[in-house]
């Protein structure tokens, strides 16, 4: 059926795969009609997709160093775009983003802008040049450009801290979804999630992760878009929701005015016994909050997320896998295209799910109705039993007010199909999509850390004479160790999904953004400058986080820079220190200068050899 090289057959292979997945969805729908239980459908969806990823992971096993680290530098532009999109869109994007917009409205949507615009920085400042450099990992670039093991080591530290913060959140998300779909306890779900993640990456490294990520992207995008289009068409909101929900957004504004946006006092919420992490709607959906400070809070969050995007190693390393510099650049554009398909849909999903709950004219609406009637709805019972939703009758009138309905942000996406009355097969599909999103990001992150530790610390610093077999053995061993450490921390449930994700961006931008960018764009940047910048940037950012975070020292935020935005402090310090120290130390030698000249043009040999 598939003659010739694997790469040439990609469109056919993934086309067949997509068709097969659609057939599977239809089969499940038929099975549901025939009386298969919701629980079985959920299990089948998650198990079926995870088995496919594991199969791809096994098929892509390799013993070649460049296949393991950079997928043999043969991934075509469009497919690398899909893989990057899956790598990028985490459990937070898939599960928590629409939920965030649901509760936070316009203010929260700063994340949408921040998590997309950063790709312009990636494309114009970094990706093509790092590709030309020919590195295996991000610290590989820092180590070679600035020279010396200490610079390399500093980059590894920043990378590990940022990626590890991120990965615990991802394993947490796989745990939540696995626990729900397979009906097992969360602590066990985390380990099931970890095993699935490792099945994808263990044997084939970057090559295996690339091809599973493409498969995961296809699952997650179908799972995200199908319910939105379905609900929109079923409810008569419009054939193409993205362009046709203007009236619904306006209607939400009316409903907000009608029910009133009340912010509950923390003491009341506590007294009523609302489970932790659950929120009620208290912010307007589309209204822009007034004042310069509100605008600055929006913009400062956008800055952190954009600059953080351009410093996150698991994203940058995806562009090491393209066949050419030109392809790396185009591939960034394709990545954002595939990401945009989901990101532009999230506000639409939030609008639809909010409306179906809030509008008393709709059969699905619950706000403004009798609490006893609401409590008898199936999905309300199911979610309240799991402590994912809660009703607190503050004013004791027996009617559900907007501020009396509490829900966990993460469940907005997972519950919407049920709330809107779609068949259970869609809920199963959404669970599979969320699992794909969290797994693909976790894979990318764990691989980024393990590769940096095995290539940069073990091979380049500790044992430069190690043979290929030993290097790959160490790389795989580290994958397991890092994954297990992440799963252990995730099972302790330290912070909510989103807090941790934003922190990863701040850590990365504090320590890595300027050393990377100036490494290409400023020839005068020296080793001492880069080292000083990385250390002071990361240290000052972390110190500020401890100073401002409510659970640590809890001091008032300076200029609105709170714990989600501490990267602004870190990156600024990093820039100033790096420039000052660079200018105080002698300029880099002529061979380094020549190397930078070479990096700046697409043609010619890569700086580092094919096998290094």
């Amino acid at each position: 059926m598939f003659k010739g090289k694997f790469i040439d057959n990609l469109p056919k292979i993934y086309g067949t795969y997509t068709g097969g997945f659609l057939v599977f969805i239809i089969l499940m729908a038929i099975a549901e009609q025939a009386g298969m239980t919701a629980k079985t459908i959920g299990i089948l969806f998650v198990a079926f997709t995870v088995c496919i990823y594991a199969f791809i992971g096994w098929m892509s096993r390799t013993v070649q160093v460049d296949a393991y680290y950079v997928a043999g530098r043969s991934v075509p532009t469009v497919f690398n775009g899909m893989a990057t999109a899956a790598d990028w869109m985490s459990g937070a994007s898939f599960v928590a983003m629409a939920g965030g917009i649901y509760f936070g409205g316009y203010t929260y949507m700063a994340f949408l802008i921040g998590w997309t615009g950063g790709y312009i920085l990636v494309s114009s400042l970094l990706a093509p040049y790092l590709r030309k450099f020919g590195c295996y990992t991000v610290p590989d670039f820092i180590g070679t450009r600035y020279g010396g093991n200490f610079a390399r080591f500093c980059a590894v530290v920043v990378l590990t801290l940022a990626s590890f913060t991120y990965v615990t959140a991802q394993i947490n998300a796989t745990g939540t979804i696995a626990a729900r779909a397979l009906a097992i306890p969360f602590e066990l779900g985390v380990w099931v999630g970890l095993v699935s993640i490792l099945l994808c990456s263990m044997l084939g490294g970057m090559r295996a992760v690339t091809w599973t990520q493409v498969a995961q992207y296809i699952v997650l995008i179908i799972a995200y878009l199908l319910p939105i289009f379905w609900i929109s068409n079923k409810g008569g909101y419009g054939f193409f929701p993205h362009l046709m929900l203007g009236e619904e957004v306006a209607r939400l504004g009316e409903l907000e005015a009608q029910f009133g946006l009340v912010k509950n006092a923390a003491a009341d919420v506590k007294a009523a016994g609302v489970p932790g992490g659950l929120k009620s709607i208290s912010l307007p959906h589309s209204e822009v909050p007034a004042g310069g400070m509100a605008a600055w809070k929006f913009i400062s969050l956008v800055i952190c997320m954009m600059v953080g995007t351009a410093s996150l190693p698991h994203i940058l390393m995806r562009y090491f896998t393209t066949p050419s510099v030109k392809a790396a650049r185009k591939s960034v554009a394709w990545s954002l295209f595939f990401i945009a398909l989901l990101y532009t849909s999230a506000p639409m999903l939030a609008t639809l799910s909010k409306l179906s709950l809030m509008d008393p004219n709709l059969s699905t609406g619950i706000i403004g109705k009798d609490i006893s009637a609401v409590m008898s709805i199936d999905w309300v019972q199911a979610w309240t039993a799991q402590k994912q939703a809660f009703i607190a009758d503050f004013n004791g009138d027996g009617v559900l007010q907007l501020n009396e309905w509490f829900m966990r942000g993460d469940v907005v996406v997972l519950s919407t199909p049920e709330v809107a009355g779609l068949p259970y097969v869609i809920s199963g599909l959404v669970a599979a999509g969320g699992m794909a999103a969290a797994m693909s990001t976790a894979d990318g992150l764990i691989l980024a850390i393990a590769n940096a530790l095995s290539h940069d610390v073990y091979y380049k610093i500790i044992d430069p004479k190690a043979d290929v077999r030993k290097r790959l053995l160490v790389a795989r061993g580290l994958l397991i160790v890092i994954g297990a450490a992440g799963a252990y921390i995730a099972s302790m449930r330290i912070t909510s999904i989103l807090g941790a994700v934003a922190w990863a961006f701040d850590f990365a931008m504090s320590g890595l953004f300027f050393p990377l960018v100036l490494g290409v764009w400023w020839k005068r940047a020296t080793r001492e400058g880069a080292i000083a910048g990385m250390i002071t940037g990361l240290a000052s950012g972390t110190a500020y986080l401890i100073y401002v975070y409510p659970k640590f020292m809890g001091n008032p935020a300076w200029l609105g820079i709170d714990h989600l935005r501490f990267g602004i402090i870190g990156a600024s310090v990093c820039l100033v220190v790096m420039v000052v120290v660079s200018l105080m130390t002698p300029a880099p030698d002529s061979s380094t200068q020549k190397m930078i000249d070479e990096v700046r043009v697409p043609t010619g040999k890569t700086i580092l050899g094919k096998q290094h």
Partner: protein
Amino acid sequence: MSNKEKHWEKTKGNMFLTLALWFFFGYIIFMFGESLNSASFLGYPLAYYMCAQGSIVAFVIILFWSANRQEKIDEECGFAERGEDD
């Protein structure tokens, strides 16, 4: 000026132009979110729309446009890669 220097000057120009557009769609318009919202597009309040879709679509277009422009610069200065297709 050598070919390499010319190429780098043009590359820098493309970078600054791209970042200027990025700055406009990512920051400038959201500085005026409050007043933008009184206008509407497709029935959505304008600032909400730009946030939900407008700016994101603009970013995608900027990326493709800028990549094509850079390819032309590489071609012009004789630094285009040959023999490797994407």
